[in-house]
């Protein structure tokens, strides 16, 4: 391609727009001033230790990890066989069922959270934590159906037929032939579902209560009343988490697989 200076400058400005706000957060997390300042005065790690000693942060962090992990596993256990069935079996109304499985992405997250809160927590008196898990399961399921589904569709059907001919039952063939061949799809959908569950706010917003608060919600509540660099410090920690995940994905599947 010949050089196109105008386009290049434009693109550089856009990348700067994407990165600079996050870089500013990183810088402000080291400032000594009790409120956020830029440029900063002094240099300290104090705000990072504040984050690790703040129980509402550490508790909600482990809750977020647990919920994201369990919800993703549940979505895989239910979603992988369903995706297989939709791809391979003759199912009446296949497209409708598939759209139905993807429907949690169409209903706005806050509406999902609100409806579940009203129905499950208020009407049927489920504990909030169960509502939270189910809500996050709904977030995760569409990623499993979509990503694993397209992986299975790309898998050559004849290798399954071969395994049947050689004496495998359908179940054996699924576990010994299909599953090992779709691990990359399962891993990609695990990553996507996990990240989206961990970062989600709207669904969790209604489904939280005393002692049951997810990290993004707890960070958001903190921001409403505080403006100190510990928010920046926690943000930097979350960004480090993002970088580690991106690195893992790049090394295993390539980032292209999730975009």
């Amino acid at each position: 391609m010949r050089k196109n200076v105008g386009l290049k400058i434009f693109a550089i400005l856009v990348f700067a727009f994407l990165l600079i706000p996050l870089l500013i957060i990183i810088v402000t997390s080291f400032g000594t001033n009790p409120t956020i300042q830029f440029p900063i005065k002094g240099f300290t790690f104090e705000w990072y230790s504040k984050v690790f000693t703040n129980e509402s942060f550490t508790d909600s962090f482990s809750l977020s990890l647990e919920v994201a992990f369990i919800a993703t596993l549940l979505a895989l256990v239910i979603g992988v066989p369903a995706a297989y069935s939709l791809a391979r079996h003759e199912v009446f109304g296949r497209n409708w069922i598939k759209s139905f499985f993807l429907s949690p992405t169409i209903v706005p997250g806050l509406v999902v959270g609100y409806a579940m809160y009203q129905f499950i927590v208020i009407k049927f008196q489920f504990p909030i934590i169960q509502g939270l898990l189910l809500g996050h399961f709904l977030i995760c399921l569409p990623y499993v159906i979509r990503v694993v589904g397209s992986t299975i569709e790309q898998l050559d059907f004849s290798i399954e037929e071969v395994s049947w001919t050689l004496g495998c039952t359908k179940l054996q063939s699924f576990s010994k032939v299909v599953l090992p061949n779709i691990t990359s799809g399962i891993f990609a959908s695990f990553m996507l579902a996990f990240i989206n569950s961990f970062n989600n706010i709207p669904v969790s917003q209604f489904l939280s209560g005393p002692g049951v608060t997810m990290l993004p919600t707890s960070l958001m509540n903190y921001i409403e009343y505080n403006y100190d660099p510990s928010v920046s410090a926690l943000s930097v920690i979350l960004m480090l988490g993002t970088i580690i995940l991106m690195f893992i994905i790049e090394k295993t599947l390539g980032l292209a697989s999730i975009s």
């Binding site: 856009v14 996050l22 957060i25 830029f38 499985f101 943000s235």
Partner: protein
């Protein structure tokens, strides 16, 4: 058990969970909004006739529309630049685009609080060089929500478009230039029409995303610039008006569906290759 039933047994757990924990909850909140003795739409007509409520609805549409337009105008050239850059750079540029997308939206909105706030970076800089004498009100405005939404969803638009533009033969551009089009005209007449499917999918994602987002209007809009999602939350919590919250919930769902249908219709008009699915 016959072989024919097996697929339905495999699909059953997921279907049952979706019905129990998504469909029934939705019906249970929406159904009562149509009953007041008999069947009635009065809750909805009342919502739209109320000036305050309609103002919130209109602001939500307006902010989402502006954010979407900005994302298209900024996103298309950026995605084109990424798709045309050499392979070794493309990975890095995609990472820069993906990184904000995978970072928590609270963090991303918070960044703009530090930039736009009363003693934020912009005001600090303008005061220091003496361009203004007292801080500008940038935060807690519609402008702040628009910037925040663009920041939130631009990566989604760019990534969607890169996927489409990568498949466009770069020789097409050269052909157009050889035939006498200058670069801008070639871009508008050749690249732009070819990227329509990507623009449509990206616009659906940005528009419905901004329209239903909760974090950004909550953190950057303040109490004066409420959007539908924050209004729903306010009704359900502070105001204790569950009926009102349910009315807003259905309005948000229907608005999302209408936007998707509308964009697909536009896509059908512009692109003869048929409907784009999002």
């Amino acid at each position: 058990m016959t072989q024919r039933r097996i697929p339905y047994l495999i699909l059953a757990p997921g279907l049952i969970l979706l019905i129990l924990f998504l469909v029934l909850p939705l019906i249970s909140i929406i159904f009562p909004t149509f009953f007041n003795g008999g069947i009635t739409f009065s809750n909805y007509t009342a919502f739209f006739l109320d000036e305050y409520n309609f103002g919130i609805f209109w602001r939500t549409i307006k902010v989402s529309l502006i954010a979407t337009l900005i994302c298209v105008v900024v996103g298309v050239p950026t995605a084109y630049y990424i798709s045309q850059s050499p392979k070794k750079w493309r990975g890095l540029l995609m990472s820069i685009t993906l990184f904000p997308l995978l970072t928590n939206s609270v963090v991303r909105s918070f960044a703009w609080i530090t930039i736009l706030g009363q003693d934020g970076i912009v005001n600090h800089a303008l005061l220091t060089i003496g361009l203004i004498s007292k801080p500008l009100t940038l935060l807690y405005t519609e402008f702040a929500i628009i910037i925040g939404s663009v920041y939130l969803f631009l990566p989604l638009m760019v990534i969607t478009l890169v996927g489409i533009l990568e498949n466009i033969d770069s020789e097409i551009m050269e052909a157009a230039e050889t035939l006498g089009a200058n670069r801008l005209i070639a871009f508008v007449k050749v690249i732009l029409p070819l990227s329509v499917p990507g623009i449509i999918v990206g616009s659906i994602l940005v528009f419905t995303g901004s329209m239903t987002a909760y974090t950004t209007p909550q953190l950057l809009g303040g109490n004066r610039n409420i959007m539908l999602a924050t209004f729903l939350y306010q009704n359900a919590t502070a105001l204790g008006n569950w009926q009102g919250a349910s009315v807003i919930a259905l309005i948000m769902i229907v608005a999302t569906l209408i936007v998707m249908k509308l964009f697909n219709l536009i896509a059908g008009r512009l692109d003869k290759r048929g409907e784009v699915s999002a």
